[in-house]
């Protein structure tokens, strides 16, 4: 199966491993990720005001390009996914936004949200299937207690993202189980890590990180997995001493599939 792929700016820089392991694992699972020929940074946070048009255009352009290629668009970074998905859903629902965007970009074929955009975890769950993942595992994480960290952007707003149950998600736990490990549930798995506020007030971000990390530790987690480079930053750089270590889910996937050391 072929997919369009939107890596986003952070996966090209600070989070290169997240990207590399995502590509290696997809290839091992028979999914061909083809990076969009041209894309710009999506802006990282979705502008919520109705009159913000220009700030949403780079996301719209990526969506249009996936529509033209005729393939489902896959994202990995939670933030990119939130921006692209919300822009697409708003294009479907908000006529004023749709008209302005089409007038501004003037695409050959008008765009009304036809692209399908899914997160890599949705590709694993809905397209490849966790059973198929399980069959390809060569290095099982059997016995390892791993906690999922969803954060906020994958899940919310729940009606728009339609990713999983926003209050009781399970896709990452199912992923953890598929690589042989034991998923650990804890209260803070879908509460925010502090996000960009780390640049405004580090103490606030440290407080958020501690709340999450303490909650995972108390539940017996030996490791936490995330999909987002900013979650990764907040849960490591803003973590208290002796906190549970955090990994990208794609790294564990690549390791489980035995492709971690492959040179792409």
């Amino acid at each position: 199966m072929r997919y369009s792929y939107y890596p986003g700016c952070t996966l090209k820089t600070r989070a290169k491993e997240l990207d590399r392991y995502a590509r290696l694992s997809a290839a091992a699972l028979g999914a061909e990720l083809e990076e969009l020929p041209e894309w710009q940074c999506c802006g990282a946070v979705y502008p919520m005001a109705k009159d913000e048009i220009a700030t949403r255009l780079s996301a719209v352009r990526a969506l249009m390009s996936a529509r033209d290629l005729g393939t489902t668009l896959v994202t990995v970074c939670s933030a990119c996914h939130n921006v692209l998905k919300r822009a697409n859903e708003d294009l479907k629902a908000d006529e004023n936004f749709r008209t302005k965007v089409n007038n501004y970009v003037a695409p050959e074929v008008p765009y009304a949200g036809e692209a399908k955009v899914i997160h890599y975890l949705e590709m694993l769950r809905d397209e490849i299937g966790f059973d198929a993942v399980k069959e390809k595992v060569v290095n099982s994480f059997k016995g390892k207690k791993i906690a999922a960290y969803y954060g906020c952007l994958l899940l919310r707003p729940g009606k728009v993202m339609a990713f999983d149950d926003p209050e009781n998600p399970r896709v990452i736990e199912d992923f953890i189980a598929s690589i042989g490990a034991t998923p650990v549930l804890y209260g803070q798995r879908n509460e925010c890590c502090g996000a960009y506020v780390t640049l405004e007030d580090k103490a606030q971000a440290q407080k958020s990180a501690r709340r999450i990390l303490d909650s995972a530790k108390a539940a017996g987690a030996e490791m936490i997995v995330t999909a987002c480079p900013l979650c990764m930053y907040n849960l490591t750089a803003n973590a208290p001493e002796g906190a549970v270590p955090v990994k990208y889910f794609t790294e564990l996937l690549a390791e489980a599939l035995g492709v971690k050391e492959v040179q792409a």
Binding site: Y196, V197, L199, Q204, K207, L230
Partner: protein, 129 residues
């Protein structure tokens, strides 16, 4: 006084929020991870916008402590979406000439080698124009 009315209208228009739907249950504030850092909590934003106290909100550091995590928006039983009000009021401030809360010039001293690009992009989007 007419100035207040205009500000309120702008906030309601760009946010798309109807504060009248709020029943003051406080669930949004109860779930807000920035509760301790915000002078005005999400349910207060809703009431204050409804009362037209926009200038008070515009002067509050609370605008820069909201994480846009959408917990308040997700968990409000009345679909009020307080996060959109916080964003709209913040935009009223930073869209004014010279009122950016953070600019590219502020970034270098805040950089650390692990910081992901998206944090910088996000902060500049949220705190400036």
């Amino acid at each position: 006084m007419s100035g207040h009315v205009n500000l309120k209208d702008t906030v309601l228009e760009i946010s798309g929020v109807n504060p009248r739907k709020c029943m003051q249950c406080g669930k949004c504030s109860g779930t807000c991870p920035a509760y301790g850092e915000m002078e005005y909590h999400p349910h207060q934003f809703v009431t204050m916008v409804d009362r037209g106290q926009i200038e008070k909100l515009m002067a509050s550091p609370s605008l820069y402590r909201c994480l846009a995590c959408m917990a308040c928006l997700e968990r409000c039983p009345r679909g009020v979406e307080p996060a959109k009000l916080v964003e709209a009021v913040r935009l009223l401030v930073i869209r004014q000439q010279g009122q950016n809360h953070m600019t590219g010039d502020d970034i270098p001293e805040k950089l650390d080698p692990e910081l992901p690009q998206q944090a910088i992009v996000a902060a500049l989007r949220k705190y400036g124009k």
